[in-house]
C-alpha cells in the first residue's frame, strides 16, 4: 500500500509526534529537531511526509532559518515515494522565488519527454530545486531511461550530488518503478527492464525480480507475472447490469400522482 499522506509512519519517534500534534510545530526552535529527523530519514531509509512538510512550513514562517541542504534533502526524499504527490506538496510550501524562473523545457518534436531546464539562474538553491523538479517530471512521466541517464550524467554532475545524501536512493527509485510495472504490466522484456531499472546485466535483473517481485519469474527473455488475479483481458470488460434495483418508495410519487389523477377525473 502506498503511504497515505495523513497516516503516521511506524518509524516516527515520539518527540516528533508531539511536535506535530501540538503547537510546538510553530516554534522556531523545533527546526533543529526536525532537521535532524530529516538527516535520520536520509540515513535510515525511513520517510515521514508530515514531519518534512512541517519543517518546510517553519521555513516559510522563518525564512532566515532555512537550510538549503535540508530543503534539497526533503525534496530528494520525496522523489523516492513517487508516484505519490509528495514532491508537489513540498513545492507548494517552498518560497515562490525558487521556482519563479523554472521553465518546463519544450520537448523535442515527436517526443513527450521534456528537455532539462534551461540556463542557470544566479541562485544556487534555485538551480538545485529546478534540477530536482526536472527529475520529478521524468519520474512522473515514467521516462525511466531518461531519468537514469540524467542522474548519472557526466556533463552535469549536479544531479548526482543532489541525491547523494539519501542512502538507498537508487534502490528506492527502483522499487517505485517496480510498483509501476506490477501495476500496469503482466510481462516485460528483459532488455526494456534493464533500461528501466538501470541494471547492466541480466543477472542483476534476475536477482531483483527474485527479491522484490514475488509472483514474478523470468521466462525466456521476459519477466512475467504468474499471478492470475489481476489479469485483464477482453473477457474482463464488464458491463454493469442495466436494470439494478429500484426501491418501491421511488414509485411513491408516481403512484400518488396517479391516485390524485383518478380523484380529479371522477
Amino acid at each position: 500500500m502506498p503511504s497515505l499522506s495523513g497516516s503516521t509512519p511506524l518509524s516516527r519517534p515520539p518527540e516528533i509526534e508531539t511536535i506535530l500534534t501540538t503547537l510546538s510545530r510553530y516554534n522556531p526552535e523545533t527546526t533543529t529537531v526536525l532537521q535532524e529527523y530529516v538527516v535520520t530519514q536520509c540515513a535510515s531509509g525511513s520517510y515521514d511526509l508530515m514531519a518534512n512538510l512541517a519543517l518546510l512550513k517553519l521555513y516559510q514562517f522563518n525564512p532566515e532559518l532555512m537550510r538549503d541542504e535540508t530543503v534539497l534533502n526533503i525534496l530528494a526524499k520525496s522523489l523516492t515515494v513517487f508516484p505519490e504527490p509528495d514532491f508537489t506538496l513540498a513545492l507548494h510550501l517552498l518560497p515562490a522565488s525558487l521556482l519563479h524562473q523554472y521553465s518546463s523545457a519544450a520537448s523535442t518534436p515527436n517526443s513527450t519527454i521534456p528537455l532539462p531546464p534551461a540556463a542557470d539562474t544566479d541562485d544556487q538553491l534555485s538551480n538545485s530545486v529546478h534540477r530536482l523538479t526536472y527529475l520529478n517530471s521524468l519520474l512522473e512521466l515514467a521516462a525511466f531511461p531518461s531519468f537514469w541517464r540524467i542522474l548519472s550524467s557526466d556533463v552535469d554532475e549536479e544531479y548526482a550530488d543532489l541525491v547523494a545524501d539519501v542512502t538507498g536512493f537508487e534502490d528506492a527509485i527502483r522499487r517505485g518503478i517496480t510498483k509501476s510495472i506490477t501495476l500496469s504490466m503482466r510481462s516485460l522484456r528483459v532488455e526494456t527492464a534493464l533500461s528501466w531499472w538501470n541494471f547492466t546485466n541480466k543477472e542483476a535483473v534476475e536477482q531483483w525480480v527474485e527479491e522484490e517481485m514475488p509472483g514474478w519469474v523470468i521466462e525466456g527473455d521476459s519477466i512475467v507475472s504468474k499471478d492470475e488475479g489481476d489479469a485483464i483481458t477482453a473477457a474482463t470488460s464488464t458491463v454493469q447490469p442495466a436494470t439494478g434495483k429500484i426501491k418501491f418508495e421511488q414509485f411513491s410519487r408516481v403512484i400518488r400522482r396517479v391516485y390524485e389523477n383518478e380523484l380529479l377525473h371522477h
Binding site: H92, S184, I232, A234, T238
Partner: protein
C-alpha cells in the same frame, strides 16, 4: 417595551438640551484665560466645561442620526444586554441589512466612537461588536484605506481579548451565524490586508504607507491570526469534544468549564474551519485537511445550518483534495455542495450574502470542470447540465487535451483558486523579488496538468480496441514505442487514486477511478472497459412525474397548493357522502 422608554428619554433630553446655548459658555471660558495666573480649581472647571461641550456636540451629532437607526442601535444594545439570542439574531440578520440598504448603501455607518458609544453609555463590548459590523460594512461597500485596516485590526484585538478574558468570561451568547461571520470576516480582512500590502509594494510608491507598514509588522501578522484561532480551539477543547462525540460520549465531560459555554463552543468549532482556510491560503493543503480530522462532514451538526460555513468548508476541502491529486474526492465535495446550493436557491436570494454565494458557486463549477477534465467521472445529472451551461466550452477544450487545453486550465484555476498569500511581509527594499504566490501555486499545478496532456488522445484510441499492439498504436500516435510504453504506464497510474471511504479526511484507499483499464503484456496492450448500463428505471420514473406536470400545465390547472386544497375538500366531501350513503343503507 423598554426601548420606547429609553428612546423617549433621549428625545426628551435632546429636546430639553436643544435649547442650551453654547454661546453662554464662551465668555466664562475666555474670562479664565484672560487672567494672569490660574489656580487648580478654575482649571478643573474649565475642563469640565469643555467635556460638557464635547458631550453636547456628540449629542447633536447623534441627533442627526435618523430615528430608525438610533432606535435600532438602542434596541440592539438592549438585546445584547439581555442576552436575547433570538432577537439579536433578528437584529443582525434583518434590521441591520435593511437599514444598510436604506441609509448607508454607499456611506459608512455612524462612527462607533463618536456617535454610537455615547448613545450606549460607552458599553465597551457593544461598541466593539458594533465596530466590527461597521468595518465589515466598510470593507464590503467601500474601499478601506491603510488607517481603516489598522483600526479594524485593533478592534478585533479588543474583541478577542474581551472574549479570552479568563477572569470574567462573558456571559454573552451570539447567534451561530454571527459568530461564523466574525471568524470569516477576520480571516477575510487578514487575506485582504496581505494582498493590499503586496499591491502597495508592487505598484504604488506611497512611501508614507510603506513606512507605516514597516513600523507595524505585528498588525495582521499570520502569527496573530493563527494564535486567535488556535486559542479558541484550545480554550473550548474543541478537538477533545469532537472526539468524544465521535465515540458516542457526552462532549461536555471533556469540555471543561470554558468549553461548555456556548460562546466558546461556537467560536471553537468555527476556528477549526478558519484554520482550514488559513492553511490553504498559505499553501499547506495536507495540514489544512488534517486540522479538520475531528469533524465529520457527513453528520448534520447544528453548525451545519450556517450556510456560509458549509459553502466555505466544502470549497476549501474540495480545493485541498484537488491539489493533492485526489480528484475523485474533490469532485464529490464540489458536487455535494453545488447540489445543496441549487436546491436551496430560494432561501439565498434575499440574503445579503447572495453575491458571495453566487461567486463561490461559480468558482466551484470552474474547479469541478478542471477535476472532471483530469479525472473523467459521471456526475449527477443536474450538476452536469449546469456545468455544461457555465463551463461547457472550456470543459470540452480541456477534455481534448493537448497544448490548447493548457491556457484553459490556467484561466479557470486563476479564477477559482483562493487568494493565496505569502506568510510574511514582502521585501520592501527590493520589490522585484516579491513573486505573486498565486503564480507559484499555479505553476506547480500546471506541472501536474502538463503530464496528463496525452491522456485524452490515448483514451480515444484505447476505447476502440480490446487488444492492441504497442508498435501499431505508436504509429497511429506518431510516437516512439518506448515512449508510448511509458505513457501507458502513466495512464494506468493516473487511473488509480486515493479515495475517501471513512474516517478522517486524509484517509482513503486506492481505487480505480477510470472506466478504462489496461494491462501490458510485452508489446500487447489488453484493454477492458467498464460500461455502466443506463439506469433506465430511475429515468422512467423521473420522466413520468415530469410528464404529469406537463399534462397539468396543458390542462391549465391551478398551482399545487390550491390543487391540494381542492383535493382535500373533495376527499372530505366524498367521505361525507360515503358516510351518508353508508348511514342510509
Amino acid at each position: 417595551m423598554d426601548t420606547e422608554q429609553v428612546a423617549y428619554d433621549y428625545d426628551d433630553f435632546i429636546q430639553k438640551t436643544g435649547d442650551y446655548d453654547f454661546e453662554d459658555d464662551e465668555p466664562l471660558a475666555t474670562d479664565l484665560i484672560d487672567h494672569e495666573g490660574f489656580d487648580e480649581e478654575q482649571l478643573l472647571q474649565q475642563q469640565q466645561i469643555f467635556q460638557r461641550q464635547l458631550q453636547l456636540q456628540q449629542q447633536q451629532a447623534a441627533a442627526q442620526l435618523p430615528d430608525a437607526v438610533r432606535n435600532f442601535i438602542l434596541y440592539f444594545h438592549h438585546c445584547m444586554k439581555e442576552n436575547n439570542v433570538y432577537d439579536l439574531h433578528g437584529c443582525y440578520e434583518n434590521s441591520f441589512n435593511r437599514l444598510t440598504e436604506k441609509f448607508y448603501k454607499n456611506t459608512p455607518w455612524p462612527d462607533p466612537h463618536g456617535v454610537v458609544a455615547p448613545l450606549v453609555n460607552n458599553d465597551q463590548p457593544f461598541v466593539t461588536l458594533y465596530t466590527e459590523l461597521y468595518y465589515r460594512h466598510l470593507y464590503a461597500k467601500l474601499q478601506p484605506n491603510l488607517e481603516d485596516r489598522f483600526a479594524s485590526y485593533d478592534n478585533y484585538c479588543i474583541w478577542f481579548n474581551y472574549i479570552f478574558d479568563s477572569s470574567s468570561p462573558p456571559e454573552l451568547e451570539l447567534p451561530t451565524n454571527w459568530a461564523w461571520d466574525i471568524i470569516d470576516e477576520f480571516i477575510y480582512q487578514f487575506n485582504s490586508f496581505a494582498l493590499y500590502r503586496s499591491r502597495i509594494v508592487r505598484k504604488s510608491h506611497n512611501e508614507e504607507e510603506i513606512q507605516q507598514l514597516r513600523e507595524h509588522p505585528q498588525t495582521w501578522s499570520t502569527y496573530t491570526v493563527l494564535n486567535v484561532l488556535y486559542s479558541f480551539i484550545q480554550k473550548s477543547r474543541m478537538n477533545e469534544q469532537l472526539e468524544a462525540i465521535k465515540e458516542g460520549r457526552d462532549p461536555d465531560e471533556v469540555a471543561g468549564e470554558d468549553g461548555s459555554r456556548p460562546l466558546y463552543k461556537t467560536f471553537g468549532y468555527f476556528s477549526i474551519l478558519g484554520l482550514l482556510r488559513v492553511h490553504t491560503l498559505l499553501g499547506d493543503f495536507t495540514l489544512a485537511l488534517k486540522t479538520m480530522e475531528g469533524i465529520d462532514l457527513s453528520k448534520k451538526s447544528k453548525y451545519a445550518r450556517v450556510a456560509g460555513a458549509q459553502f466555505t468548508t466544502y470549497y476549501y476541502v474540495g480545493f485541498c483534495y484537488m491539489m493533492m491529486r485526489r480528484y475523485a474526492d474533490a469532485i464529490k465535495a464540489f458536487s455535494h455542495i453545488l447540489l445543496y446550493i441549487s436546491r436551496t436557491k430560494g432561501f439565498h436570494n434575499r440574503s445579503a450574502q447572495y453575491d458571495s454565494v453566487t461567486k463561490r458557486s461559480e468558482q466551484m463549477y470552474a474547479l469541478l470542470a478542471i477535476c472532471v477534465a483530469l479525472c473523467p467521472t459521471r456526475l449527477d445529472d443536474s450538476i452536469h447540465t449546469t456545468l455544461r451551461e457555465k463551463n461547457g466550452e472550456q470543459l470540452a477544450r480541456m477534455q481534448r487535451g493537448g497544448e490548447e487545453s493548457l491556457p484553459v486550465f490556467e484561466e479557470l484555476f486563476s479564477f477559482a483558486c483562493p487568494k493565496f498569500m505569502s506568510h510574511g511581509p514582502p521585501d520592501y527594499d527590493n520589490p522585484a523579488n516579491n513573486v505573486d504566490p498565486l503564480q507559484h501555486h499555479l505553476k506547480v499545478f500546471m506541472m501536474d496538468v502538463k503530464r496528463t496532456m496525452l491522456t485524452p488522445t490515448l483514451r480515444s484510441y484505447l476505447k476502440l480496441y480490446s487488444t492492441m499492439n504497442i508498435e501499431k498504436l505508436a504509429t497511429f500516435l506518431e510516437m516512439d514505442p518506448e515512449e508510448l510504453r511509458s505513457a501507458l504506464v502513466v495512464f494506468k497510474q493516473k487511473s488509480r487514486q486515493v479515495r475517501w471511504t471513512e474516517g478522517s479526511l486524509l484517509d482513503g484507499e486506492v481505487v480505480n477511478v477510470s472506466d478504462l483499464d489496461i494491462s501490458l503484456e510485452g508489446d500487447l496492450i489488453n484493454i477492458s472497459e467498464a460500461k455502466i448500463g443506463r439506469k433506465f428505471g430511475d429515468w422512467f420514473l423521473r420522466n413520468t412525474t415530469k410528464y404529469y406536470a406537463v399534462q397539468d400545465t396543458i390542462l391549465n390547472k391551478n398551482p399545487e397548493k390550491q390543487e391540494e386544497k381542492e383535493h382535500k375538500d373533495k376527499r372530505r366531501e366524498r367521505r361525507e357522502k360515503n358516510a351518508e350513503k353508508k348511514g342510509s343503507k
